[in-house]
Amino acid sequence: MKITPRLMAIFVVVVLFGGMLVSMAMGEWTTKSTKEPIKFSEGEFAGQYDPADIRGSYTFGDVSRLFEIPLDQLAVAFRVSEADVAAVALKTIEEKFVNLEVDLGTNSVRLFVNLLIKDWATSQGLAFSTFKSQLQALVDAVK
């Protein structure tokens, strides 16, 4: 059987859009993040969200909800002046601090959330060693 260009065009369009439609019908087609970071699988924080997996598409509202950090604390820490702090996406931070020598962005939020967890861990008498190396990597990235 010969495949003509017209047949090939139909084949490409049908398989491509057909595959997408089937995946949509099955509820598998997602083009956006679920706004839910991965969780620590072991250690004293097992089952809790991992700050290292915070994405630039998250809003301050998402971070506040997921890590139980008051929005006003986040607004002060990152100089968010917008009326609706919760709706501000983390990736916009870089544009706010363009004149700084250090690169401030989503990594800074990860670090901030990590440090809050450290405070909490210390107050609870828990070891911080579990994610110390991970935190160091974040610090290096911000440097």
């Binding site: 065009a9 595959g19 598998e28 997602t30 083009t31 956006k32 993040s33 544009e95």
Partner: protein, 284 residues
């Protein structure tokens, strides 16, 4: 032995082979509109009926680079979503049947390079696409496999989308956005300039996704076959091939660079009917 063309009059050929140009144009406009809509939605505007997905979510290569992380942790590399994995599966299904048909018919970056090539062809005539000596060119063609290995390894190691820093496809449709990396813009600029001399330079020498799909040419179900008994050795197929494959020397094209564009076939540039065709079944 020299053969003369037994066909006295030019064959009245259907222009249906040009359907590829329209398919390419459709996908180029679709991706451009989605990318513009993505920017508009972030500014609180946007077109309601059109997807506003990030281009990272609509690139099947995201699925390839995320595969390791997906298998080991069940998550995707940052910026990549499940849609990329689904598109990767669709790309593999297409490639299993027809080889890298995604490159030849869908990829907007390939389309963009072909448009620049039209200008290059006008400037350099027959010299176009023949500037690089064959020996050097043959070696350079394997560079894209090094790029593929490097990208997959570095993505698995860092769990970040390292390729985004040099991705010309993302840069092409996001050059107005602060999200695009300077490296991507540089690679896009170099690709554009190189396209004036060589057809599809990014696809030939650097595209890791093209490298991945090219492997399927070794065992694709639709085979690009040349009938040696009717072939008049005019080399029209060789001249038409944007990837410089010498179709006239092969019985079945299994070259990893073939993009299944069908320009060499009897439906397009081969002057003899039923001589170079994509076929299913028949003799091997």
């Amino acid at each position: 032995m020299e053969f003369s063309n037994p066909v006295k009059k030019p064959i009245k050929r259907s222009k249906s082979y040009k359907i590829r140009i329209w398919v390419q144009l459709f996908f180029f406009i679709l991706i451009a509109l989605i990318s513009i809509n993505h920017t508009l939605v972030e500014e609180g505007k946007g077109i309601a009926f059109l997807s506003s997905a990030s281009l990272h979510a609509l690139c099947p290569f995201g699925g390839v680079v995320s595969l390791y992380q997906f298998i080991t942790t069940g998550t995707f590399v940052q910026k990549v979503h499940q849609s990329s994995l689904i598109l990767m599966i669709i790309g593999v299904v297409l490639a299993l049947f027809a080889g890298p048909v995604f490159c030849g018919w869908v990829c907007p970056l390939g389309t963009f390079q072909e448009w620049i090539a039209k200008l290059g062809r006008k400037l350099f005539k027959k010299r176009y696409n023949h500037f690089i000596p064959a020996k050097v060119d043959n070696v350079l063609r394997y560079l894209r496999y090094l790029v593929l290995i490097w990208v997959v390894f570095m993505t698995a190691k860092s769990m970040t989308l390292v390729f985004a820093n040099v991705d010309p496809y993302f840069a092409l449709f996001n050059f107005w956005s602060s999200e695009v990396a300077i490296g991507g813009l540089i690679v896009l600029g170099l690709t554009t300039i190189a396209s004036l001399f060589v057809e599809r330079p990014w696809c030939k020498y650097a595209c890791p996704y093209g490298a991945f799909l090219g492997i399927f040419n070794l065992f694709r179900i639709f085979r690009l076959r040349r009938n040696a008994t009717t072939c008049i050795d005019c080399k029209a197929c060789d001249k038409a091939c944007p990837m410089n494959i010498e179709v006239s020397k092969m019985a079945v094209v299994r070259n990893h660079q073939c993009i299944s564009c069908m320009e060499c076939t009897s439906s397009a540039h081969c002057p003899i009917p039923v001589t170079v065709d994509f076929v299913v079944g028949g003799e091997k």
